[in-house]
């Protein structure tokens, strides 16, 4: 019941969303043209995804790497059982 209600609300809210493939949707008007235009000039990297990932938003990716580092540490701490007290 809650699921159907939430779905109905979400479908109603999509009526205000931009159409699929619309080049003038708000998501692609704010900063992304600048990323596309300046990526070769500023970073010498033709792949805009890489330059945004590692250069313009490097701090974001650092946090990302820390997240998966933490996940691995949690998995090792929770599950690892050493037999006969042999450390690594």
């Amino acid at each position: 019941m809650i699921v159907i209600l939430t779905g109905a609300v979400l479908i109603y809210s999509t009526l205000d969303m931009p159409d699929w493939g619309d080049p003038n949707s708000p998501a692609s008007l704010h900063v992304s043209p600048r990323y596309i235009e300046k990526t070769i000039e500023e970073t010498a990297t033709p792949n805009a995804v890489t330059s945004v990932l590692a250069d313009y938003r490097g701090y974001d990716t650092l946090g990302e790497t820390t997240v998966i580092f933490t996940a691995a540490v949690v998995c090792i701490l929770l599950l690892r059982r050493f037999e006969d007290d042999k450390t690594l």
């Binding site: 159907i4 805009a48 929770l78």
Partner: protein, 124 residues
């Protein structure tokens, strides 16, 4: 009719998202809940990727010989970046959640949520 053609992609993601949501709130098995969460995250990832798309545009890898770069020719790189990181977070949360579930199973010998709560109540 134009609304349907323009917006049907969102409706597909909403259907997918509601499947995941239903699994999260209605299922009792913890592993099924986690799989529901994964479906939910997949729906969100697809939604973000679809916002990046522009008609008649190509992937955001620039062609070197081009002098003037027109942003309308390349799809939006930003949602791709965000979702690239979100996929990795999805994998790591899935791993951690499975690890926690395995510890719970070792402790209580059941994966059913209600039974675990029952056992916890009896202990009090």
């Amino acid at each position: 009719m134009e609304t349907v053609i323009g917006k049907y992609n969102y409706w597909i993601y909403i259907a997918l998202m509601m499947i995941g949501f239903y699994a999260m709130i209605a299922k009792r098995n913890l592993v099924k809940k986690i799989v529901g969460m994964n479906i939910f995250q997949t729906a969100i990832i697809l939604f973000f990727i679809s916002t990046a798309y522009k008609k008649d545009a190509t992937i955001p890898i620039l062609i070197k010989s081009q002098e003037v770069i027109d942003p309308a020719q390349y799809i939006n790189p930003l949602p791709h970046v965000l979702m690239l990181t979100a996929i990795v977070v999805m994998v790591s949360t899935f791993g951690v959640a499975l690890a926690v579930i395995m510890m719970l199973y070792n402790q209580y010998k059941t994966l059913d949520e209600d039974e675990i709560i029952e056992i916890l109540r009896k202990k009090k």
